[in-house]
């Protein structure tokens, strides 16, 4: 495609991307460098049906003046990024000096909200992404081998987990693993432990969410792999059969190299998706045991009566950086291959 044609072709998408993705990211970035103005408070008398007390309120007259002058707030630089609820640079330094063993140090650091969330998010990515790829590929291979007549309904059944809204899917599972639910109650019987609860144990909650993630994301990998399998040329496969190659050898040496670019694509998309894991935490009411980076943002925006824009913006920016770091190896590799191919 000539560059000019490409430019006009891409222009509408490009504009929309700048408008709906680029600008909001820039605005979020700017916001993350600001904090609220110092609150001016005053003592006043408050009366309610239960009596009167002397207490403090925000002095609106003075505050509104300051706000009008600088509506964005007080410039805070990287203050929000390095505070205790985010990167916690100072706290980590203190832990390093105060703790006696490395284990203790790690315990202290992973007790900080940002690192706690980061560890869950990375664990989730690390377990879900490869399993999704593997499971999706196995399903695609098996369905590809089934007779054409029943393939349609089978494919439909397989992609159901993707069609079901994430929140609904996780809620259904949530009720099933309840101590009184079908899975929860049976597990208690099996393990002979009436206090066993999938929801109260941190490890079990993590496992549940990861299994849910694999269940929910596999169909996407399957659909893409299945489409790619349709393009595998039949001649080399037949030649391999004649040469006496086993099924595994055929998959390993013909099918996989052929669909390799697609595998990279699915891996990229799933990594990005998984790094933003959020719905299952809400669906499973798992806030107590599992927090992800996206959940932290949500928490800052809605969970408290005060909205912490600066905190939420800082976490958002760090999530973007995190995704970029995660994707970097794959992107660099693709770029290199692209260069050599040319």
């Amino acid at each position: 495609m000539p560059n000019k044609t490409f430019f006009w072709f891409f222009l509408p998408t490009g504009l929309a991307m700048i408008l709906f993705i680029g600008l909001p990211i820039i605005s979020t970035g700017i916001q993350s460098f600001y904090a609220q103005h110092d609150q001016v408070v005053k003592e006043v008398k408050k009366c309610d049906p239960f009596g009167c007390t002397v207490s403090i309120v925000v002095d609106q007259e003075k505050t509104s003046k300051i706000r009008e002058e600088k509506p964005l707030g007080k410039f805070n630089g990287f203050g929000t990024y390095v505070d205790r609820n985010h990167l916690a640079i100072e706290e980590i330094g203190n832990f390093w000096n105060e703790t006696n063993s490395f284990g203790e140090f790690v315990d202290q650091v992973t007790n900080l909200p940002f690192y706690k969330a980061l560890i869950f998010t990375l664990t989730y990515c690390l377990f879900v992404t490869p399993n999704v790829l593997l499971l999706g590929f196995i399903i695609a291979l098996s369905l590809n081998a089934v007779t054409r007549r029943i393939r349609g309904p089978l494919i439909f059944g397989t992609i159901l987990p993707m069609i079901v809204t994430p929140l609904v899917g996780s809620l259904v599972l949530f009720w099933m693993i309840d101590a009184e639910g079908i899975i929860g109650a049976n597990l208690q019987m099996l393990m002979d432990d009436p206090y066993l609860s999938l929801k109260s144990s941190k490890t079990l909650t993590w496992i549940t969410i990861i299994i849910y993630g694999i269940w929910h994301h596999s169909p996407f990998a399957f659909v893409v792999f299945y489409a790619a399998l349709q393009t595998v040329p039949q001649e080399p496969v037949e030649a391999a059969i004649i040469d006496g190659a086993s099924r595994w050898q055929r998959v390993r040496h013909i099918v996989l190299p052929h669909i390799y670019p697609v595998v990279t694509f699915v891996a990229l998309i799933s990594l990005m998706d998984n790094f933003r894991v959020f719905e299952p935490i809400i669906g499973f009411s798992a806030e107590g045991s599992a927090q992800s980076l996206s959940w932290l943002i949500y928490d800052n925006l809605v969970n408290e009566e005060v909205i912490l824009f600066g905190s939420a913006a800082a976490t958002s920016m760090m999530t973007i950086v995190g995704i970029a770091i995660l994707l970097a190896p794959v992107l660099i590799r693709t770029w290199k291959e692209f260069r050599t191919a040319r």
């Binding site: 904090a35 008398k45 009366c47 049906p49 505070d83 101590a179 107590g288 969970n303 009566e305 905190s311």
Partner: protein, 411 residues
């Protein structure tokens, strides 16, 4: 299920009929009314009564349990999405902090006939809200279970623990106690109650510096953990609705729950035997204290600042009509402890009335309290799970609070 739905539809239809015929006397000629409120029966009744006198004004209402998340953004817009917000002690604070609600003095003078002085929430001499009901969390118990095992009705949390252990030992129930311990707002609320019961203060006097990492804080956490050990192991995912369901399935004999939920607990739905044996009593005290480990709450209406005066007037007239309505109070005496003149407390109001008699403290109405509440909700979870010490948990709460308070400019 379907039966209850039918009932709800019938009741709302009745209200509609009532509304248009019985109270056509408000004479509101213009303006538009849009109300944001939490979702429980008493508030629905209140808003329906207000609707009854809307006259020719537009009338819209949003009942949502997510009201806290909507309120600030919706009222910040100019013009604001809602003309009124039904708020409580805690939820009026962010509105005050951001200067989103208007003083009501003139409107009360002009249209506030019948509203009692005790209903007025005044801050710095200005009326900012009109309260119409009171709420608190108190004990519910199963009379049959306690009687059978010869247990007296508990008055302190120590007795609650002893009673629950006895019930568990008898083999009748595995998890005899329940309270809304869902991580987040609910759990933090339980901490606030228990800490106040221990006589604790959240901040160093006159400042926004936290002061919960002390012996009272530790005792509070230990008591919460003891109670959690007697609850369903999934307690960290249970909110008020979930423990209500637990109660109605007969799994629980002692429970701390909102007074405003007693109506749905004691209605005709569910097992009649359990309903008949469900009894209410005041909130419990703890650690030999005199004041109950509970906070008093009011629900009242506030008017948005960023809305035209005409809308504010129409909204006020409709809501004031409900906030001074003897007929509503008489008809719905079961649904809430109304602060409105003419209310005769029934058996379902025992909890709140006892709490007031025992001099329970109101929930602290401080500008930075929301941040403390938020920090509590996420940082004490690991202590309950047995993953860290009480001191560490309280240290974490203070640290998390400090970062947030710094960002918000309170420190």
């Amino acid at each position: 299920m379907r039966e209850t739905n039918m009932k709800k539809i019938l009741i709302s239809l009745l209200f509609l009929l009532f509304g248009t015929s019985a109270y056509a006397d408000c004479n509101i000629k213009s303006g538009s009314i849009n109300i944001l409120a939490n979702d429980f029966p008493a508030l629905r009744t209140f808003v329906e009564t207000a609707k009854g006198c809307k006259g020719s004004a537009d009338f819209k209402v949003t009942h949502s349990s997510e009201h806290n998340k909507i309120a600030v953004p919706a009222l910040t817009a100019n013009p604001s999405e809602f003309s009124a917000r039904i708020a409580a002690n805690s939820s009026i604070v962010p509105l005050m902090n951001q200067d989103l609600i208007r003083p009501l003095d003139d409107l009360v003078k002009k249209y506030g006939k019948g509203i009692q002085d005790s209903q007025l929430i005044t801050i710095d001499g200005k009326i900012m809200a009109v309260a119409f009901m009171a709420n608190t969390q108190h004990l519910y118990y199963r009379e049959d279970v306690l009687k059978e095992l010869g247990i007296a009705v508990p008055k302190t949390y120590e007795e609650v623990v002893a009673a629950s252990e006895k019930i568990r030992a008898s083999g009748k129930m595995q998890y005899p106690y329940a309270a809304a311990y869902k991580a987040g707002w609910n759990l933090a609320e339980e901490f606030v109650n228990m800490y106040i019961g221990h006589g604790g203060e959240f901040f160093k006097a006159g400042t926004a510096q936290p002061s919960i990492n002390n012996a009272k804080g530790v005792a509070t956490l230990n008591m919460l953990k003891k109670l959690a050990g007697l609850s369903n192991p999934d307690y960290l995912t249970h909110d008020s609705e979930a423990i209500k369901v637990e109660w109605e399935s007969g799994n629980v004999a002692l429970m701390t729950l909102w007074a405003s939920r007693s109506g749905t607990l004691l209605d005709d739905d569910g097992d009649a035997k359990i309903t008949a044996a469900t009894k209410l009593t005041g909130p419990a005290t703890v650690a030999g204290g005199n004041i109950p480990a509970a906070t008093l709450w009011w629900d009242g209406f506030t008017l948005a600042k960023n809305r035209s005066d005409a809308d504010a007037e129409a909204t006020f007239r409709a809501l004031a009509h409900a906030a001074a309505n003897k007929k509503m109070v008489a008809d719905a005496a079961d649904q809430a402890v109304w602060l409105i003149e003419g209310f005769k407390p029934g058996p379902k109001s025992i909890g709140v009335i006892e709490a007031v008699k025992m001099k329970a403290k109101p929930y602290p109405m401080l500008p930075q309290m929301g941040l403390m509440h938020g920090a509590l909700g996420s940082e004490i979870v690991e202590f309950l799970q047995g993953k860290e010490s009480a001191e560490q948990a309280l240290k974490d709460v203070e640290a998390a609070y400090m970062s947030k308070a710094k960002e918000q400019g309170f420190l």
